[in-house]
């Protein structure tokens, strides 16, 4: 039952009534202007990149079949996007990405909580997790191929290894930095052990968890692309497989088409994470200065 928020009554308003944020009546106006502020620099940047590309193309440094013009690439992209093969490849790759990411979230969360909770475990593998994070995931492929042959599992193995450390680290640092005042309140309210985790510690790690997820996704996506170029599973026309095929046929417009596609997918997924991050920040009141 939403209660109409009246002007605060007299007995409520001390001087500090002044510090409350005023009501947001211009929400839509602010949204539009923020959208515009976020859009025009992107459009300008894109125009500059395409302009530079066109100039390099006109300079004749590379033959047109090696470096096609922006227009030729656009035409290829448009034509290719009209075929089912293009979309099937995206679906196959996204399925792999989501499976790997979901697995990583499950493993990374459990691992993160365990490491944050048990001191010996942290001493044992805390630095190992950070070390793994800095390791280029492509290093794992030779071993993955030996272990799992040329298969989906080999790709999944490397994707998970790439994403788990970031996700675990997100949780660990989130738990480490729970404000002591919050834990004290939990204790005062009579929470012990599991209850304290359920009601205070885990919710408090949310912002850190989300940034861990975001980073984990970036690692998973990179590992996946490396994997698809190296491990080409028969009958699975994934993005990597088709891109490798295009290179073998010297089909430069198609190679660039895939590069652009992967870039766009990356940007879209990043937008999803950013949206989640912003939602949390604004409902927690972490970005009031804007």
């Amino acid at each position: 039952m939403p209660v109409e928020v009246k002007e605060p009554s007299r007995e409520l308003s001390g001087l500090d009534e002044l510090e409350r944020t005023p009501a947001t009546e211009t929400r839509w106006g602010r949204f539009a202007s923020r959208l515009w502020a976020g859009t025009w620099p992107k459009v300008l940047a894109l125009a500059l990149v395409i302009g530079a590309w066109q100039l390099v193309f006109l300079s004749g440094r590379w033959d047109p079949w090696v470096l096609p013009s922006p227009l030729a690439t656009w035409q290829e992209l448009a034509a290719y996007a009209a075929t089912p093969g293009y979309w099937e490849a995206i679906v196959i790759t996204m399925q792999r990405a989501l499976t790997g990411f979901a697995l990583s979230v499950a493993i990374g969360s459990v691992l993160g909580i365990a490491v944050a909770r048990f001191k010996p475990l942290r001493a044992a593998i805390g630095s190992l997790i950070t070390g793994l994070q800095t390791m280029p995931s492509i290093m794992w492929f030779p071993l993955a191929i030996l272990l799992f042959k040329i298969s989906e599992s080999a790709i999944l193995f490397v994707v998970v290894l790439g994403a788990v450390p970031s996700i675990a680290n997100g949780i660990i640092s989130g738990i480490d930095y729970v404000p002591p005042g919050w834990k004290r309140v939990g204790a005062v309210l009579g929470m012990r052990g599991f209850q304290l985790y359920r009601h205070v510690i885990l919710p408090a790690t949310l912002p850190s968890f989300v940034s861990g997820l975001k980073q984990g996704w970036a690692f998973a996506w990179r590992s996946l692309m490396a994997g698809e170029l190296l491990v080409i599973v028969a009958g699975q026309g994934s993005i990597g497989a088709l891109m490798q095929g295009a290179r073998e046929f010297n089909d430069a417009p198609r190679v660039i088409t895939w590069i652009v596609t992967v870039l766009v997918v990356g940007i879209l997924v990043d937008a999803v994470f950013r949206f989640a991050d912003n939602r949390i920040r604004s409902s927690w009141g972490l970005n009031q200065d804007q």
Binding site: P2, V5, E19, R20, V188, L189, G190, H199
Partner: protein, 261 residues
């Protein structure tokens, strides 16, 4: 947990007393050990309002943590405390992922109170602290004084007979603090709570307390106890409050200069 849940407070049997005997609290060991409290004895009657006053570093907050059971004492004893006790801090420490009502409900949820009952009680408590219209707001949408009202409602939700307050209004401006003094006094009297209130503001202590306990610094000991026999409701700027505050301030100043020199 000897309280009968749901029974009206007036009928519930309550001890509400806090008895400290020769309480010593030391942090660390050996030559580097710091004695925060050194033989503090205090007898707090049920339903009374006691203010603990002292310069910073006198172990006022340590004393509250010990009473709350958040920390163990080195020696001595604390008796008759029904735990968990309710406690409020200088920072409201409301959880930003919960609404105002959600924060209050959490105290009830931990105790296993059912959802419908939680809703009802939280609404009641928010009404008590005069924030009925703000149940669905997030903590960051409130002012500092309002956040402390929510923290008070959350503490009341614990339904404990003892309420510990660790400089709860220390970060607020004078006018807001004044209003909250009135509110706190009203709630304390309505509910018959035993309040232990830590502050370094002498006038605030005299405004609120039945008794003001002056603590010395490093190590913390009870220096003086003042009974405040002034008629309620008091005003913080009234002459009797000011006079007693001046007397206590002199004693406090002497104590501080003894250490500074």
């Amino acid at each position: 947990m000897s309280l009968t849940r749901g029974a009206p407070r007036a009928d519930a049997a309550r001890a509400g007393a806090v008895v400290l005997t020769d309480v010593v609290k030391r942090y660390g060991r050996g030559p580097g050990a710091v004695t925060a409290l050194d033989g503090v004895s205090l007898d707090v009657a049920p339903g009374s309002f006691t203010c603990l006053l002292g310069a910073s570093g006198c172990g006022k907050s340590t004393l509250l943590s010990l009473v709350a059971g958040l920390d163990g004492l080195t020696s001595g004893s604390i008796d008759d405390v029904e735990r968990p006790v309710a406690m409020m801090f200088q920072e409201s420490a409301l959880f930003p992922w919960l609404t105002v009502a959600g924060n209050v409900e959490l105290a009830l949820r931990v105790k296993g109170v059912g959802r419908a009952e939680r809703r009802r009680r939280a609404a009641e408590l928010l009404d008590t602290v005069r924030l009925s219209g703000f149940a669905d707001k997030r903590p960051h949408e409130l002012s500092g004084g309002m956040r402390q009202r929510v923290a008070l409602a959350r503490a009341l939700a614990q339904d404990a007979s003892v309420l510990l307050m660790d400089e709860p209004f220390g970060a607020l401006d004078a006018m807001t603090r004044d209003l909250l003094h009135d509110e706190l006094e009203r709630i304390w009297r309505e509910r018959g709570l035993t309040v232990l209130f830590v502050t370094h503001n002498v006038r605030e202590a005299v405004r609120l307390g039945d008794r003001v306990v002056l603590l010395s610094s490093r190590p913390g000991r009870v220096l003086h106890e003042y009974d405040v026999d002034l008629e309620r409701p008091r005003r913080i700027d009234s002459t009797p409050v000011a006079n007693l505050a001046a007397e206590i301030t002199d004693a406090l100043r002497e104590e501080v200069s003894r250490h500074a020199g």
